[in-house]
């Protein structure tokens, strides 16, 4: 009698090795290379000079100060917003939430650019309104304080979302029980709600800190003109002044970033130790407090905040893109679409950047989708240690600051590839490889939640019908997860298209991305072109978010980062 194959599980035999290969190539290999380089250079003492330089210590200090300061602002803004929006009878919650989340999805260098255009003596917006400070007065944002403020605004949505997730499952009956027990609304908030939401608050704060440590766009635009360096911008400037010890220094500096980011996460773990606040009971409708006559005050206050963090900078950006040169006031005589014509039809640099970014984002989004579907299928069907290890390995490159990942890819691909003896360093392919690694987690998450929510018997019924793995994927599984797959593609496209941090280190002539193009245009003084390009990026981000918003009803819960 022929031997029967071991096929009780639904996975074809090639699936597990394939997924292991993906994960090793995209996560393990670059991380291991970076770790190896950092440790080797440290032990061989090649870069001891680095830590003797005061500039290094200044950058470490600046990183700590800006990340912590930004975190404080984020927590303040995000927490107030989250509490008011989820717990009270505040009106227009959907619109407010969408507007509040928007800064997170707008690339940081665009945010920084917009704020610079909004303030300072040459601001076209202020000039138009006639309230610009006198020429020669300093741009107030080119300072540590400016970096802190913008990091705070950029990452406040992270705190908002982390808190909102916790608040959404806060049971109404728990609050009502406390009210019946005689507690005033303020007591309920202090004794019941605040303790229950600490995990979300701490998680959000840690996330804001880690994102602040890794942020490149904001300190690059605000810090470099004033010679204020943080670790990511220090790495960037070291790479620009390529020297003998560059690789060693970059490896050590990025290890430094990883250590500080890891420190933030460790503090989070420590703060949450032993806190098991799983909500027991029905989590039906949200607890609602009536704000009474304070409602108008809150609504007005939030409108003012949103005006300053969102509307005004974006208006300044649009104004700057419509004037012929920085510092010219906007009116009917000066207004022109020249900048748009320039970047869309004449400048080969921006045209190449468009082509590169669209290609990179499209290839990353669709390429990763194939990986994600296969990996999610495997992980959803196979619980246990292996699945946890995989999930963590996929998460690390996304959680790591982009600059660290970029350094890892430079180290990995600086030498020609073995066997084929071709170097992809300096080509667009190294950026693509880094994007695959960095955004795997983004792509995987929606697909994974769709697979986890799928009733396994749907696939089992297909198996008993006689359908092979390929048939089941084509006829049953892929159609059922299609909305989540669509969301995955759009999300990755959205983030990859305007990405700056990774490509800032990896680009070279001809392979610049949109993010790099904006940064370089601003750096070379063409602020009108940079503004125009930024406006286009913002329009694209908002459009893609609106498409996702329309898809939202058909998506599994938790797929869209700005919805719960």
């Amino acid at each position: 009698m022929p031997r029967l194959p071991h096929r009780g599980s639904s996975q074809p035999v090639w699936l597990l090795p394939l997924v292991i290969a993906f994960v090793c190539l995209l996560s393990v290999l670059p991380l291991a290379r970076l770790l190896y380089a950092g440790l080797r250079f440290s032990f061989e003492g090649e870069a001891t000079g680095l830590f003797a330089e005061p500039a290094t210590w200044a950058a470490i200090r600046n990183t700590m100060v800006t990340a912590s300061g930004g975190m404080l602002i984020s927590v303040l803004l995000g927490a107030v917003f989250a509490f008011v929006v989820t717990l009270t009878d505040f009106r227009g919650k959907g619109v407010f939430s969408f507007a509040f989340i928007l800064p997170m999805m707008i690339p940081p260098q665009v945010t920084a650019l917009a704020w610079v255009q909004m303030s300072g003596p040459a601001s076209p917006l202020l000039k138009t309104l006639g309230i610009a400070p006198p020429l020669g007065s300093p741009q107030p944002l080119y300072s540590v304080g400016g970096i802190i403020l913008l990091l705070g605004v950029q990452h406040a949505p992270l705190v908002f979302l982390a808190l909102k997730a916790g608040l959404a499952c806060l049971p109404r009956d728990g609050v009502e029980a406390a009210r019946l027990a005689g507690a005033s609304p303020l007591r309920v908030f202090r004794d019941i709600i605040l303790p229950l939401t600490t995990p979300g608050l701490v998680a959000g704060a840690a996330l804001a800190f880690v994102s602040g440590v890794g942020n490149f766009g904001i300190p690059a635009i605000l810090g470099i003109p004033a010679s204020i360096f943080v670790l990511p911008t220090l790495i960037y400037s070291r790479l620009s002044s390529f020297g003998a010890g560059t690789f060693a220094e970059m490896a050590q500096l990025s290890m430094m970033i990883a250590v500080i980011a890891g420190l933030g996460l460790a503090i989070q773990q420590w703060a949450l130790r032993g806190a098991d606040y799983r909500i027991i009971g029905l989590s039906g409708r949200n607890a609602v407090f009536s704000l009474g006559r304070w409602r108008m005050v809150f609504e007005a206050a939030f409108l003012v905040i949103l005006f300053f963090v969102l509307a005004a900078p974006l208006a300044a950006l649009v104004a700057s893109s419509l004037v012929p040169a920085y510092g010219v006031p906007l009116n009917f005589r000066t207004m022109s679409l020249e900048a748009y014509r320039e970047i869309l039809f004449r400048q080969s640099v921006t045209l190449t950047a468009f082509a590169n970014s669209l290609f990179l984002a499209g290839a990353t989004a669709f390429g990763l989708l194939i990986f994600s579907v296969l990996t999610a299928y495997l992980l959803a069907r196979r619980s246990g240690k292996l699945a946890n290890v995989f999930a963590a390995l996929i998460e690390i490159p996304y959680a790591l600051p982009g600059i660290v990942l970029a350094v890892a890819f430079i180290l990995l691909f600086a030498a020609p590839l073995p066997l084929v003896n071709v170097s992809i360093y300096g080509t667009i392919w190294i950026i693509l490889a880094a994007y695959f690694s960095s955004f795997f987690a983004v792509s995987l998450k929606p697909v994974m939640s769709a697979f986890l929510q799928l009733d396994p018997s749907l696939e089992e019924a297909a198996r008993l019908s006689g359908a092979s793995f390929g048939c089941r994927m084509r006829d049953i599984l892929v159609p059922l997860i299609a909305p989540a797959a669509g969301a995955s593609v759009i999300l990755v496209f959205l983030i990859a298209c305007s990405e700056l941090t990774v490509s800032a280190l990896l680009w070279s002539a001809g392979t610049q991305t949109l993010g790099v193009a904006i940064f370089n245009l601003d750096d070379s003084g063409s602020s009108d072109l940079a503004a125009a390009l930024s406006v286009l990026v913002v329009v694209m981000v908002v459009l893609l978010m609106l498409i996702l918003e329309m898809l939202a009803k058909r998506l599994p819960r938790g797929v869209l980062p700005w919805r719960n």
């Binding site: 031997r3 029967l4 071991h6 089992e460 019924a461 198996r463 019908s465 006689g466 006829d475």
Partner: protein, 340 residues
């Protein structure tokens, strides 16, 4: 179609306690076997091993000439020519009723007129011809159930498996679906295996009932047989109503005990005790009987159910056409009992 044989089948998920332990079973061709047991007894695991979703740790499963699983491996479900009605029905929401039903034909390469004819035939058996172009979401629970059944019918499988198919339906619909299953079995002639924890479903449908507990197969027999002559406490407790009494009974060549012997046992004090199963319909009020205390009397619609207590403190039940005052002592005769 062929006989399904399970040979010393065991399944251990590595949790310390085996889910299925050494089950041997023959399901006759065209038979309707009900796998009955409390939740967690291993009946669903056994069904999933027959379907091929789980691989037995030990033992073998044989269908006619084919070995489906043995120690060396297991034939994947897609090659077993079986069909299953899932507890959740497992209809594919993105396909119409006709596409759902026809999917087994589609993967077998049946197309065109032959496809249409067979799908229509299957839908007519469950009386859903007019619903062919609907989507599952537009159907009621009972209709979804019937679509799942039609999907089983369409490919003429060797074995049809049903995993608690009535668990999600209301009482009224259950009765109608039981009739549909019976009709379906008679028409298709397929071997059917039906997992349930509801003994009335098992009794109503099956030609054979297999009772499982803690992963073991306790007894396989025809419904009347298993009701009248259960093996052991667990089977006795699971099938029908009944109470187990510990009485001082003499050795006897038959396990069926009549009233004279039971009466004698009630008067006997010392000696080894043996367990008998007493059905409530065999406990009747009679002036010649033993005195039992009535603890409660509950009206169930067609009769009263009495909870009784012997002088030794053992509980049993009786049916009564009239109400009895709780707390009173009344004489009862136990017509028969079954040594378990």
């Amino acid at each position: 179609m062929a006989q399904l044989i399970l040979n010393h089948v065991s399944k251990d998920f590595g949790t310390g306690q085996a889910a299925v332990r050494d089950v041997s079973l023959k399901v006759r061709e065209g038979g309707f076997l009900a796998l009955l047991g409390a939740s967690g007894c291993g009946k669903t695991t056994l069904l999933r091993m027959i379907a091929g979703f789980e691989e037995p740790t030990e033992g073998s499963i044989i269908l006619g000439e084919r070995t489906l699983a043995d120690g060396s491996g297991s034939l994947p479900p897609e090659k077993r020519n079986m069909a299953m009605v899932f507890q959740s029905y497992a209809l594919w929401p993105h396909m119409t009723v006709a596409q759902n039903v026809g999917y087994p034909l589609k993967v077998r390469g049946v197309t065109g007129a032959a496809f249409d004819v067979r799908v229509r035939e299957a839908l007519s058996v469950v009386r859903l011809e007019d619903f062919a172009s609907r989507r599952p979401a537009e159907l009621s629970g009972g209709q979804r159930q019937r679509v799942a059944l039609a999907r089983c019918l369409v490919s003429s499988p060797d074995v049809v498996l049903l995993d608690e198919p009535l668990a999600n339906l209301d009482r009224h619909l259950k009765a109608a679906m039981l009739e549909t299953f019976r009709e379906f079995h008679a028409r298709s002639g397929a071997t059917m295996i039906y997992v349930t924890h509801d003994q009335s479903e098992a009794m109503a449908l099956a030609t054979d009932v297999a009772v499982m507990s803690e992963g073991r197969l306790l007894q396989v027999a025809a419904p009347e047989e298993i009701y009248a002559r259960p093996e052991g406490h667990v089977v006795g407790g699971l099938i029908g109503q009944g109470a187990v009494l510990e009485l001082v009974l003499p050795d006897h060549d038959s396990r069926l005990m009549g009233w004279p012997m039971i009466e004698k046992a009630f008067r006997q004090m010392g000696g080894p005790r043996r367990a008998i199963l007493v059905r409530p319909e065999h406990v009747v009020a009679d002036p010649d009987g033993v005195m039992l205390q009535v603890r409660s009397c509950v009206y169930e619609g067609e009769r009263f159910v009495l909870s009784l207590l012997t002088s030794g403190g053992q509980a049993l039940q009786a049916y009564s056409p009239f109400a009895v005052v709780p707390g009173s002592l009344q004489p009862f005769v136990i017509r028969q009992g079954w040594l378990v």
